[in-house]
Symmetry: C2
Amino acid sequence: MALEVRARAPGKIILSGEHAVVHGFTAVAAAIDLHTYVYFRLHSTSDNDDGLVELELKDLGLVFSWPSQRLREMFSELGLPSKTCSPECLKVITSLVEELSFPEAKIGLSSGVSAFLYLYTSIIGYRPGKVRVTSDLPLGSGLGSSASFCVSVSAALLALSGAVCADNQQKGWFVMRENELELVNKWAFQGERIIHGKPSGIDNTVSTFGSMIMFRLSELTRLKSSGPIRMLITNTKVGRNTKALVAGVSERTQRHPDAMAAVFTAVDSISKELSDVIQSAAHDDVSITAKEEKLEELMEMNQGLLQCMGVSHASIETVLRTTLRYKLASKLTGAGGGGCVLTLLPTLLPSTIVDKVISELEACGFQCLKVEVGGKGLEVCFT
Amino acid sequence: MALEVRARAPGKIILSGEHAVVHGFTAVAAAIDLHTYVYFRLHSTSDNDDGLVELELKDLGLVFSWPSQRLREMFSELGLPSKTCSPECLKVITSLVEELSFPEAKIGLSSGVSAFLYLYTSIIGYRPGKVRVTSDLPLGSGLGSSASFCVSVSAALLALSGAVCADNQQKGWFVMRENELELVNKWAFQGERIIHGKPSGIDNTVSTFGSMIMFRLSELTRLKSSGPIRMLITNTKVGRNTKALVAGVSERTQRHPDAMAAVFTAVDSISKELSDVIQSAAHDDVSITAKEEKLEELMEMNQGLLQCMGVSHASIETVLRTTLRYKLASKLTGAGGGGCVLTLLPTLLPSTIVDKVISELEACGFQCLKVEVGGKGLEVCFT
């Protein structure tokens, strides 16, 4: 059995349908080629059982560790591993996490550490080991950083537990079998529940399976992009209060039920059209350009509808305005009220123009990330 | 019979529903307290019949005149007055107008002069007289300048023809009787047809009757505002091509029939809500503020839907952005693509803030007009 594994899982964007999805309408999410990377080393059984379970969040310069013996004592009465985190289990985890000290600005990390402790003890038990995490994804910006954390951690833990990839001899990065991905996805969802309370399950599913997903109520449909879509993600770095934004849209819906039902219906229709366009074949420049123009129009329409819901923000408008000057279509992605904005980068757009747009946006204090949308999901590597 | 009369007729704004109305959905228009003023003096019958029919557009420094004998000769075969302008009649008018020279920038005036010639000869005949026109309204900015021109000219001509106000002894400005207003409105509509080809009839109806009008297909419903609404109109001075904008929305509707049908349905619902809010009573600061907040939310929603239709413009976004900084709600009014933007000015908003907003907008090169919305329509004055 291997004692070392790496896993990488992508972040995600919402291509269309944010907010409307909360009210039962269709949305589309897609993987982006920005990843969370996990390295997991299980200490050999010859190591002392008194060893540590360690979590290193390398980008943040933070290391947390727990004597495995202590974890065994604290969790023993709960009868782990359990497929869901019971209130009793969460209580134990919370007490362990409360002992840690987080830098003031990183207080939100505690739920991620809680998720880690749950996944580790549930999948691996109390055997000492070390998990090191790095990520391309800005935290808490709606790009699915927590889901890609949960997916990559779950995958690494499951791989060394033998639950997945037991007979795998592949060299380099590879994609697990479908049923193994499904198992990883289930565990990752449990992690997401600890972090978010009532996650939709979209983020972890996109991170696990990659490509694109159309979702409505609890129904997920996996889509296949016929080619990569290039986008620019602009992180306004304006902190959002997702709950307040969602509540604001719900209140507006109560005040204007007919108008908002029609707005959501329009979004639903846009999401469906978008998924058709994404799946349509395009092989030459002419058809690719036509496809991109369709996507741009749908993005512009969706952005107008989001403004109608009242979730835009001055920082988002600044990005829209800047990219519009280059005739590029943009829309907010995620909850709005700040956060990230997507801009489609047409295939034939010269890189000099892309660089110009980026430097203008960066001059506003924003962070720009060039991504490919709809690519691979979770991958692991034993070598 | 009087030989002198004055008439003034207000401009209009579209409060909600522009573009959607073209596709059969509800819109709301309202009068604004910016007027076109007409002074009309009919030469006494003792004057030589060879006298002139004169039109002075005072703001533009333009005077046009025609020997009344010449008009008589040219129109005599057509059997005027006619209730609509026949193709033959339009041909005669066009040949008369083609003889005139307009300043390069004012070439669009020719259709207004054509409308004048039609109204004058149809209502007054060939008796010499002088019409002087001034206006508060910027031309061609979607504020109904042409309709208020047609209404005030028609009213003045009808008043001295004896068709309306024949027995009126009132001093100062007064409002005509309902059936007289209806007659003026019919003539004004004929003038609008010459200027616009296929006008909706909304602009002249609002200008004639004042207050607010809800309209859908050919059905007009007059609304009563329970109190004045203060707004700022910002004229971006960016020229619009209304036909191209309307065509663009229609093309988008063909490409995305389901989504756009839902968008129009949302607008329809907003227009109906708006008309309810406008008609609702509000007597103290609390209820007035609540009413204004409702209007602001509906304006914000409508603006998002207009962006979804693709008719916004960088200049409009600049206005939105500027007013948003003062927490004021704005929406484009009319065709979009430039033109004018409405901003609600809450009753309790200090005038120092209004002045600040205006000076910021004027610094962008825009023209700002403070107006009261939903006030009086056409008025005339004999003294």
